[in-house]
Amino acid sequence: MSQTRVLGYNIALKLGTKTCLGRTQEDLTVTPTVKESITKDDAGQKKSAVVGQEVTFKVSGLVTFDDSTGTTTTMDGDDLMDQSLKTGSAAEISAQYYRGANGAAYAGTVIMTGYSESSNSEDDATYTADFKVTGAFTKVTQGNG
């Protein structure tokens, strides 16, 4: 049985209906929430139980703007800035994480927990956006694996 490598550009985070424009890197982190307990019944052996996960994303890319307005497939610099300034339920956005043609996709609701732009006098302007999944992050399409 052969194994298929996944090239990095085939992994993408889609926010709402759009992927980020000019993205150079996407990082996913899943951190289990672990509850530890020890009672006399444990006979001195500490027990750990996973009670949930914290899922976060970091997206890095080039700050770019569409030549035409109203693109439906990609988030440009204005879309990301607008998203970073939303509050309450408006700040929640559906997210899908694709992992190549053969991998599964996962979905959840995310909020932006950080957004920064960096622009010096000599290089292309870049941005970094941090997202955190609120609630469940569930498999929505089955991969081949």
């Binding site: 990095g8 550009y9 993408a12 000019g22 993205r23 150079t24 996407e26 890319g61 080039l62």
Partner: protein, 127 residues
């Protein structure tokens, strides 16, 4: 996208001198030659541009002539390679003289962000 950095550099300097690759050094002073190493710039959607590390050498047996030609090339690149599609940045400038031959070396970072081809000059047949 096609790498057009070399063509655009030669086009920007066409009214100043024939800026040739180092292999085509001209035995007649003054002359200017360049070397360039270009690399594609990529994001996850593919190649969005090219970056070229460029070394330009101006050679003459007359120091004033070398200065004049180097200044003209600097001006041509500053005006001819700085728009939405191209970016230029001069990184350094050195001048030395060996055995009466003056060499000015200028290193540039050049970038290309969009396709470009040399405009076709139209000739009129009204005469």
């Amino acid at each position: 996208m096609t790498d057009s950095l070399r063509d655009r550099l030669a086009y920007a300097c066409k009214d100043v001198c024939v800026l040739a690759l180092s292999e085509d050094e001209d035995p007649n002073y003054p002359y200017a030659v360049y070397d360039m190493t270009s690399t594609p710039m990529r994001d996850k959607d593919g190649v969005y541009g090219y970056s070229g590390d460029t070394r330009i050498r101006v050679v003459s047996n007359d120091p004033d002539e070398a200065d004049t030609l180097a200044a003209s090339i600097q001006s041509a690149i500053a005006t001819g390679m700085h728009d939405e599609a191209f970016y230029s940045r001069q990184d350094d400038y050195t001048k030395e003289c060996i055995s009466g031959i003056w060499t000015i070396e200028m290193n540039y970072t050049l970038r290309q962000y969009a396709d470009w081809s040399e405009p076709v000059e139209t000739t009129s047949n009204t005469e």
